[in-house]
Amino acid sequence: MHQSTLAGLSEALRSKQISSTELTEHFISRCKKHNEQLNCFITINEEQALAAAKDADNIIGTDSASRLTGIPIAHKDIFCTNGIKTSCGSKMLDNFIAPYDATVVEKINQAGLISLGKTNMDEFAMGSSNETSYYGAVKNPWHLDHVPGGSSGGSASAVAAMLCPAATGTDTGGSIRQPASMCGITGLKPTYGRVSRYGMIAYASSLDQGGPMTRSAEDAALLMNVLAGFDERDSTSSDQLVEDYTERLNNPIEGIKIGLPKQYFDDGLDSEVASVIEDSIKQLEKLGAICKEIELPNTHLSIPAYYVVAPAECSSNLSRFDGVRFGYRCEDPKDLSDLYCRSRAEGFGNEVKRRIMIGTYVLSAGYYDAYYLKAQKIRHLIRDDFQTAFNEVDIIAGPTATGPAFKLNEKINDPVSMYLSDIYTVSVNLAGIPAISIPAGFVSSLPIGLQLIGNYFKESQLLNVAHQFQLATDWHQRTPEAFA
């Protein structure tokens, strides 16, 4: 039953083939069994999950139940969960019990889903391999020597290994899509402002966006119906009407115009990955899509601009971790400066420190214009590139990552090469548009993701194309043997 999709589980629960309690017990036992190998969970909430499942069983079949009531889910440990440790993958918050629920968590609880636990992640979502977590690296279920991608690596690994049918993730520069690609699952980064950021511990506020990580586009649509929506507690949340994301899933995609950015298929792309992507584009053409090459001329500037904007915002966002009101505090501070400097030095890992320092530097007197302002101008150029492209095409397709999941420790000591692996994902965050990564094939028995990028608030169009692709292919149904 762990191979089933959300849609399938929903059916099984409603027809009473299975109870939420049985389902929850089953997933909890899988989590407990496999977590040692994969390290994808930081916290497993067995007790609360079983209590919630019992409640769910009482309402399934009544009017108070939603379509997803009783289905287990896992949350990236960046979302605050009331009364449950919320670590953000950091020693800084190892002792932090959130006193409130993030809006995303609240919505998921209201819809009756069962929270199994909190998934591992790169520390404060800073990383592309899940190796910067204070709780240790997460393993890729397809090959335990390889990384699952990051920063939502725990969620990706858990969904791929079928320890939970779905999980939440967050994406600041590719953190949903890249691990989804590397673990062979479906991951959607919605339009900036579509999913509330309230209670989602901020990395870079103008880029962060939460979204679903699932085993199919249809499941992503079901979960988006729960996650999306205006939140009065988030000033950057959009009040655009939320559509039913499942409504258009079955529309034919004949005639849809797909742009293939020349810059996404250049020398930086692994040739085997390129051929996987080309095959999947042929598949889309078979379904009636009209593909054409397009230009996103400022793509090469996206990584440089991202590594100014994101660190600048993070340097300020992470100032609140000062050892005074919550979180880690150093032993016996000799004075106030010592309290600050040691609590932060001991509580944060190196990647977080690097980004805080870069951010501090680019905002400091004399450098602001050359770095921060310049980056925000480039951001404008990148946004315009996409708008120009969307005048010609409906969606954009290309690879999610430059290659399959790399080996553990392969890039961890070379931050810049790690940063460069996000080349196809960060521009989407800079522009604030939605994008999805779906399984499209394998290279050296590791999954490869196809990325589809849409215009603002066109999530349902992306989901439609992804679903049609998944009806015609079975890449998304492949599962890693060791976790069958």
């Binding site: 953000c88 950021r197 901020a202 009065e232 507690r233 609140r320 000062d322 005074v324 009101r325």
Partner: protein
């Protein structure tokens, strides 16, 4: 050498909202530590700010009242620095695009002349919490109740040339924010405080001298003292061949000195950038118009009107309109009396103000209501009591002994207007003061006018102040021919 003082003020006015600028926590003063600090105020991981509408409206009101520009867009920025009373490690403020720009107000100088003071900008920001240094041993206690309280920081041009001008400007802004109802002006509670930028330069020199910033001054008197002290310090320094360093100084009212807050803070680099958790505030022309419609009559306009409508003199009008409540008091009093507005003004600015000051009371706490005072003035006008007796009546009213009529009745203070009775007193005084009568009769008319005062005084004394002075005067003139 002759020096010229140059002063610019940064006034922090706490906006009188119910809830904080970015959260729904209460702003009430005096609550137990940290009981009014919600998740947003504490900067808990994951929380986000949402702007209070009222704060924006209040800032616009202020902008309109100082004839400023309200830009179509204004932006919140983060000012980054670490301090325990600053929970997020940054203060949300406004930097490049403030909500109010380029305004001015006119102050009245000691010689009665008016001077225009430019107001560079006014911007919205959140207040910090409070550090308590006593009572926690080797530690400092942090109370974040005040964190997130809305402030309007009003930044003047360096247009003031003396401590007196600075005080007059500060009083004017104080009066204005209270008129507008956007700040309670309570300086003890820190709702209205200021930093002063002070520098000196040789008279006639165009270029500004190096300035020192005096921090957190919370009374008009302290502003004057602190500035004067700082000016003296700078003059001494320069005349001894030294240099003024740009620094922040703290005024200590107990020791009456300013002292340097050391350079560590100066080394700060605030790294301002637009707050990515907030979007720009956009204000339409229609919004501005509708707020303009709600503006009350402002001090300058009211002062003009008092002169025109009530025939008050410039000075009384200025004093009465400095506070909206005082102006209201005057107006209800004058309206009830329905004549003699200047007499009402005299009473309010004289006896009433003296009594209020004596008991350190606000006009709203006055023991004598506007109506009571009006009733008393009516009794002066209808000759029931003299102005002198009125002072006695006023004191009694102040002491809670009743209304003017009750007191006049009870104490038998009614003026004697019975001609026969007064005539008897006059006759007595004339017969008892032979010498003075002779002297009077021998004097030329212009001197007589002075000398008659003696006789009036004697008659009034004998009548215990109750004789009608006008009648006494008239009778004396008739009889001393």
């Amino acid at each position: 050498m002759e020096w010229e003082t140059v002063i610019g003020l940064e006034i922090h006015a706490q906006l009188a909202t119910h809830s904080k600028i970015f959260s729904g926590a209460a702003t009430e003063y005096g609550a137990q530590a940290n009981t009014q600090a919600c998740a947003v105020d504490l900067g808990l991981p994951g929380v986000l700010p949402v702007v209070n509408r009222e704060v924006v409206t209040m800032a616009i009101k202020f902008g309109l009242a100082i004839d400023a520009t309200i830009p179509e867009q204004s932006v919140f920025a983060r000012k980054n620095y670490f301090y325990p009373d600053l929970p997020k490690g940054y203060q949300i403020s406004q930097f490049e695009l403030p909500i109010v720009a380029n305004g001015h107000i006119d102050i009245t100088l000691a010689d009665g002349k008016s001077k225009r003071i430019g107001i560079t900008r006014a911007h919205l920001e959140e207040d910090a919490g409070k550090s308590v240094h006593e009572g926690f041993g080797d530690n400092t206690g942090i109370d974040l109740n005040r964190a997130g309280t809305p402030l309007l920081e009003i930044v003047s041009e360096p247009d003031m040339r003396s401590a007196e001008e600075a005080v007059s400007y500060m009083k004017k802004i104080h009066s204005l924010v209270r008129y507008l109802g956007i700040c309670d002006g309570n300086m003890q509670e820190g709702s209205f405080r200021c930093d002063a930028n002070v520098s000196i330069r040789p008279k006639g020199q165009e270029e500004f001298g190096t300035r020192a910033e005096l921090k957190n001054i919370n009374s008009f008197r302290f502003v004057e003292q602190a500035i004067n002290l700082e000016v003296e310090r700078q003059i001494d320094l320069l005349e001894d061949g030294g240099e003024v360093v740009q620094e922040t100084r703290l005024y200590d009212p107990d020791k009456n000195e300013t002292r340097s807050m050391r350079s560590k803070e100066e080394a700060n680099d605030y790294r301002y950038f637009p707050d990515p958790d907030l979007l720009p505030i956009c204000i339409s022309a229609e919004q501005i118009e509708s707020i303009r419609q709600e503006l009350p009559e402002l001090p300058d306009a009211k002062r003009e009107r008092f002169i025109k409508e009530y025939g008050l003199n410039e000075n009384d009008s200025l004093i009465l309109t400095a506070q909206n409540d005082l102006a209201d008091y005057f107006e209800s009093c004058a309206k009830k009396v329905n004549s003699s507005a200047q007499l009402c003004a005299n009473w309010i600015n004289g006896e009433l103000t003296a009594a209020l000051n004596r008991e350190n009371k606000d006009i709203n706490q006055s023991n004598v209501t506007a109506e009571m005072l009006a009733d008393m003035i009516i009794r002066i006008n209808d000759d029931t009591i003299s102005g002198k007796i009125a002072k006695q009546v006023f004191e009694s009213m102040w002491n809670g002994e009743g209304t003017a009529d009750e007191i006049i009745e009870k104490k038998n203070l009614k003026q004697v207007t019975d001609t026969g009775a007064i005539e008897k007193l006059v006759d007595d005084v004339i017969s008892q003061n032979d010498n003075q009568v002779k002297q009077y009769l021998a004097s030329p008319p212009e001197k007589q006018a002075k000398l008659i005062g003696f006789f009036v005084g004697q008659v009034m004394k004998q009548s215990q102040g109750k004789a009608n002075p006008k009648q006494v005067n008239q009778l004396l003139r008739e009889k001393l021919k």
